[in-house]
Amino acid sequence: MTAAMIKEFRLPDLGEGLTESEIVNWKVNVGDTVRLNQVIAEVETAKAVVELPSPFAGVVTALHEQPGTVVEVGKPIVSFEVEGDADGPPAAGAEAEAEPAKREPNLVGYGAVVETTGRPVRRQRNLAAVPPLVEPAETERPPVEPAETKPAERPRSTPPVRKLAKDLGVALEDVHGSGRGGLIIRDDVLNFVGGGDLPAAGQEFAAAGAGQPPERAVSGQGEREVRSPIKGVRKLTAAAMVSSAFTAPHVTEFLTVDVTPAMELLARLKSSKAFAGLKLTPLTLVAKAALIALRRNPSLNSRWDEANQEIVQFNYVNLGIAAATPRGLTVPNIKDADRMSLAELSRALTELTESARAGKTSPADLSGGTISITNIGVFGIDAGTPILNPGEAAILAMGAVRKMPWEYQDQVALRQVMTLSLSFDHRLVDGEQGSRFLADLGALQADPGMALALA
């Protein structure tokens, strides 16, 4: 018989890849004599409530954890005084260092944990004992560096986010990752380019149109916005953003107008010296007319801020133009379009559509839009119900200009006719305001001289 000794029982991994368990209750008290495999406790894991059989025969000397505590795998939970030797096993993980290594939860079937670094951390080499090695298996690695310095790594992210960053011209090295283990997530990239914490950020950038409200883009120009201060940094989840985009109740109105006078004006302007070299199209006039009509109907140039329960009224217009590009639909916008002359607007429109078609639209051009126009007329389409660019209150679709029999001076005449389709967020815009805006727009097309009256 050898002398009595103290044995600790450390909490084992009771499932497959569990890192912790909760002590539900103890079935023994300090001082109790227990048999091998006698149930000493009930423990709840992420998977099951299980009974712990004693790994020793002996006397309980200490219960290290109270019922209700969540204990890390590898920590001692109970100590026994056992007669030396016999068949008593070493405590589970008894060889482990006193402070058990922190384990990340990795339940079987739940996928691997994202590590903060992509390769194993090496222990300090015993340089004296080991001759330098060339390691053929690792030729793709950067040259072996001293153990103290970490090799430069590609920033940790995911393929879709890498693509997003590439599309936006963002270097991931410059972005701070807020995800698990420093992972750079979509929001990090969007925040980096600005406006990422706005409702539109959850949308697929190319598909949903990238015109994002100008919260960040115009910081420093705050005097042009009427806003109350935002408390703290707001960060919506992608789900909330998508939900927000889908919760804007759309109303669409249609107006078909005789745009012959506008087309005649266009022809005159094209031949005028002031517009030499500029590309004037029906879109140019519709855009200008929309900007004029907005002055009388500002509610169409606003944003619903659900999270803060605020309506943001923009006192400027960043006019988004939906553009078909090699990457799909994008909605770059013209900053401060409301302050532009027709010639300036024309130039801006040309630049914007050209760079969009070339796939060279800058992130800044894609963010901060306040209202949008989509020209479905170029496809020969008359009307539709355009979907709001997320975060905006209105979007106008202009149809094809067609020669049609139309009432003209009490006669049926062949006139140039266009249908305008306006969708607006009914939370922000009442039918009255939407209708007035559309009517003003129509009037400006039917009689460009009205600009003198409306502007």
């Binding site: 029982f9 450390r10 909490l11 084992p12 991994d13 009771l14 499932g15 497959e16 495999n37 998977k47 099951a48 409530v49 299980v50 009974e51 712990l52 059989p53 790994p55 068949d87 096993p89 070493p90 405590a91 589970a92 993980g93 060889e95 482990a96 260092e97 290594a101 079987v108 090496r122 222990r123 080499r125 015993n126 004992a129 080991v130 090695l133 390691e135 053929p136 298996a137």
Partner: protein, 392 residues
């Protein structure tokens, strides 16, 4: 009613219901030779197949049942104590495993699933070899050719293909040995098992499909997987089948003998559905109370495979104190041996992972092994590094 009523097959055995030769559906009757109360009931078709079982052998079967239950509970405890990573308890299925495995010849070949550790015990596999994999110390516990039993298959049902292939090999050799494969009710829904049965029938291979219907494929009840008795699925393949009380060691033995005999005489494959019940969790990482009714467990506890043999021995006057003491002693010794073998099992060496990958030298593997060896050497003290790693 969630579970089968043992011995209550609905209509009485009419027609060829339980006839081993029957090629069609089984009529659902369970072959039973020992009732849950321990009464030996006669069955004209199956009695002859166990007539040679002596009282002594019956006692020996009892010992087997008790010992493997003890192995199972000890292994479960070892898992709870952190000595095994995982264990798939066979509690309740002892009679299915003992009854079938004890009928095999040494030259028959067993293709088991992961839960068939009672079969492994019967094949004479060392206790430490049985638990080696479950401790995470090796990828396989034993050399299949020394005991004619493949290592445990974790992939559901794949072993049935191996068995059919092996049986076709037996055919080519002109031998009269048999391949037997063990799988569960859930596996019969897998493509592998269906393919194995197609080939077995086509080639009339000497293979026995031994299905332990333990009623639960993890949390999926058998009634959702099969709208007919599992045994009746075999009819679709043209494979004769039997439906036996899997908690009745003698019935299982008789049915397996029928199947083995057919296979040895060139009669082709047989499907046996041993109707039993997994009384424990799917594995030590599972909590069956989340998906099954406690009443169901109680029903099956009443049909316990060990209790009925004990009751039968008692009726026959064979259950002496001496026998009970001897069986207890044997079970204790086995449990002690396994525990000691488990906790004193040396950790594998890091380079052991390269062993047994190929049976012949492979230059790619050699290169990888060389790289890994040098990687380990870069820590300065490979032995130290290895033991440190082993501690996690």
């Amino acid at each position: 009613m969630l579970t089968d009523e043992l011995g209550q097959g609905g209509t009485a055995a009419e027609g060829p219901g339980n006839r081993a030769e029957h090629q069609g559906r089984t009529s659902g009757n369970l072959v039973q030779l020992i009732t849950p109360a321990g009464e030996r009931v006669s069955h004209p078709e199956y009695d002859p197949w166990v007539q040679d079982v002596t009282d002594e052998q019956l006692c020996s079967l009892y010992e087997d049942l008790v010992v493997i239950r003890r192995i199972d509970t000890e292994a479960t405890a070892l898992q709870r104590q952190g000595e095994l990573a995982l264990w798939p308890p066979l509690l309740g299925q002892e009679a299915s495993q003992i009854g079938s495995a004890r009928t095999l010849r040494d030259d028959d070949f067993v293709f088991p699933s992961y839960r068939d550790n009672g079969v492994a015990y019967c094949r004479g596999i060392k206790l430490t070899d049985i638990i080696r994999v479950w401790r995470g110390n090796a990828a396989g516990g034993w050399d299949p050719y020394t005991v004619n039993m493949a290592t445990s298959q974790i992939v559901i049902g794949s072993q049935t293909l191996h068995a059919t292939g092996y049986a076709m090999g037996i055919q080519n050799d002109g031998a009269d040995s048999v391949a037997i494969t063990y799988f569960g009710d859930g596996a019969t829904s897998e493509g592998d098992v269906n393919e194995a049965m197609v080939f077995a029938a086509s080639f009339q291979a000497p293979v026995v499909f031994f299905c332990q219907n333990n009623h639960w494929a993890i949390s999926e009840p058998v009634r959702l997987q099969s709208h007919i008795h599992i045994a009746d699925r075999a009819a679709g393949f043209g494979i004769p089948s039997m439906r036996v009380d899997g908690n009745d060691v003698l019935a299982v033995m008789a049915a397996t003998r029928v199947a083995l005999d057919r296979a040895r005489r060139g009669g082709g494959p047989t499907f046996i559905e041993a109707v039993t019940y997994r009384m424990g969790p799917h594995t030590t990482a599972d909590d069956p109370t989340r998906y099954r009714d406690a009443n169901e467990l109680e029903d099956w506890a009443a049909k316990d495979p060990i209790r009925r043999v004990k009751a039968l021995l008692d009726r026959k006057g064979l259950l002496t104190e001496k026998l009970e003491a001897a069986v207890q002693q044997k079970a204790d010794a086995v449990a002690r041996e396994m525990r000691s073998g488990c906790i004193n099992m040396p950790d594998p060496e890091p380079l052991d992972v390269f062993k047994h990958v190929y049976s012949t030298p492979n230059s790619w593997l050699d290169r990888q092994q060389d790289h890994y060896a040098r990687y380990l050497a870069s820590f300065g003290d490979p032995a130290g590094a290895a033991s440190e790693e082993g501690a996690h």
